[in-house]
Symmetry: C2
Subunit: 325 residues, 2 copies
DNA sequence: TTGTAAGCGTTATCAA
DNA sequence: TTGATAACGCTTACAA
């Protein structure tokens, strides 16, 4: 491997001079700098990251921990993270599915971490944070030093969803939940139920799902059994709403007519459904950006806001039938 | 930061003894080993990766370079890669979208690399390989030392697709291609056309697409203009086939009846279409596994096969209408 | 079985 | 403006 020492030999200078030249310091004359850079180029020199990291105690890499790579969802969010990191000269390492690379955090292979993975134990995050590692979480609240959160406005979104659903004036309202250990699901459900309680005396039914298309199918069966003809459904994510669209017609129920539906997440499929799905939207890209910015500020010792919440908004499409706004 | 030295102090031994104990060497007595490990645990010691990497000149990390995180496609493939790596004690670093982390390869931050990204220049791969880095490519052929390829059986798959399509006895055959710079598209198109030439004298039309749903829409328009009533279409990927399904009915053409369709990739949506999409399948997970295995063998100096090709098979569903097999 | 010490490639301090 | 040299945290001959 060609190292800084080889360049020094070839250029007839010391390794420190080479180091200065490579790091564009103004402690060397422009001409020796130029000469050294040329030689480095000729020898196809590339710095050894391990050496640099060891010395500087900084890697300029950040670790991002997600549950899986599945779904359109992560794509945009990660893209937002990656963009901000790139702009600030950080590299992104992604660990998915309980990867062993979590160890990168205490081993100082990353300068900080972003967590969006409910399988990543809170206790572990707290341990790492206590050891001085900077972490931003996107899926829970952790109130210890060195941890910040950038959260989705689940409650506000759920309230928007319920309010929107009620404009369609359904005879009864159904909530289809995510898995019971999902923080998102819990928050949406609770805020939605509270809102129903405040604003309406329509009957409410909660069907337990798990954020998959399949549980949408299952929910459709249950709704058909209810026998109502004018049901309003708040599917706590769009995937389950898609499951409804798939199954309801087989049961003689028309989405948007017999069953009014509002989803959550603004999945890319929504507009393609018939009728197009009304849903709660938020900027996935923006979420990623904000998260990355927060982490960089923490790492670089700048002021950060302790809790940040991402705004949601309603996307009105046809799945509530014809309502006036 | 608590290091090996702190443990040595506390245990009243030298740092080398600690190092041996931590690396489970049999050069230390079981009891001192135990004592040292306990102290390490109590101090919450975690090894500093940079130090180890620097000394060993091995990181046990491998870099994977993909175009983007989008699509169900990558999910399974990456999962296959990740699984094999985990089993062999390697960590996975993923760089997407022309990330700067390509530099990890020459900087020896990764022991090897996997490339599935047509934006990753072949010249760069060759340069890195010449510098001694081990690389496996999944989307092209590169005949230089230190590079191996694990490729999809595009040609065999295309032949299967054409043969299957011809069993439906269409009056004319249409190919919808991917982007012209896609190696996959080129190989599928060429093999498909050659097969048509050999086995049939039906007229053939090539419509240029770009592997997106949108270009499926566009192709549907062109097909409608042809005025045929019994067209066979080989969409070079499933996404474009989905585009056909979306648009054809608007033009008065029924998929599976007026237009027989065969796709490629076995997208998860296929079974949900009406009629379900006949397509060419291959194991995405297996592809990832094979790729990772190949790379590990290269890194560990074991024998490897120069070129490996992944098998494809036809998934018969309803989009060819009623055909006898 | 344990300790001493060299060295991995880089950066940074201090002298020259 | 440059050079000698000591770290950074760890592994590993070699010596004891």
């Amino acid at each position: 491997m060609v190292g800084i020492r080889d360049i020094a030999d070839k250029a007839g200078v010391s390794i420190s001079t080479v180091s200065y030249a490579l790091n564009d310091s103004d402690k060397v004359t422009a001409e020796t700098k130029k000469r050294i850079l040329e030689i480095a180029d000729k020898l196809h020199y590339t710095p050894n990251l391990a050496g640099r990291m060891l010395k500087k105690q900084k890697t300029n890499m950040i670790g991002m921990y997600i549950a899986s790579f599945g779904g359109y969802f992560y794509h945009h969010m990660i893209d937002g993270v990656a963009q901000v990191l790139r702009e600030n000269n950080y590299e992104l390492i992604i660990g998915s599915g309980g990867s062993h690379s979590r160890e990168f955090i205490p081993q100082h292979l990353v300068d900080g971490a972003i967590v969006l993975d409910s399988d990543f134990p809170t206790s572990l995050i707290e341990r790492y944070a206590n050891a001085g590692n900077q972490i931003v979480v996107m899926d829970r609240e952790i109130k210890v030093p060195n941890v910040r959160q950038v959260l989705l406005g689940n409650q506000a979104g759920a309230i928007q969803a319920v309010d929107t659903l009620l404009t369609a004036n359904p005879d009864a309202v159904v909530f289809i939940t995510g898995p019971s250990d999902s923080n998102d699901s819990q928050l949406r459900l609770q805020a939605g139920l509270t809102r129903m309680d405040q604003c309406s005396d329509k009957p409410v039914l909660v069907i337990h799902g798990d954020f998959t298309v399949d549980s949408g199918h299952h929910a459709a069966d249950m709704i058909a059994k209810m026998g109502h003809r004018n049901v309003g459904v708040f599917a706590l994510n769009d995937e389950m709403a898609i499951g409804l669209y798939e199954r309801l017609p087989e049961l003689g129920l028309k989405p948007g007519v017999d069953v009014k539906i509002v989803g959550f997440d603004n999945d890319s499929l929504g507009p393609y459904l018939t009728p197009a799905l009304t849903t709660i939207d938020y900027s996935k890209h923006g979420w990623g950006e904000l998260t990355a910015k927060t982490l960089i500020n923490m790492i670089e010792g700048k002021q950060t806001v302790k809790n940040q919440v991402l705004k949601t908004k309603v996307i009105h499409r046809g799945s509530l039938g014809e309502t006036e706004c």
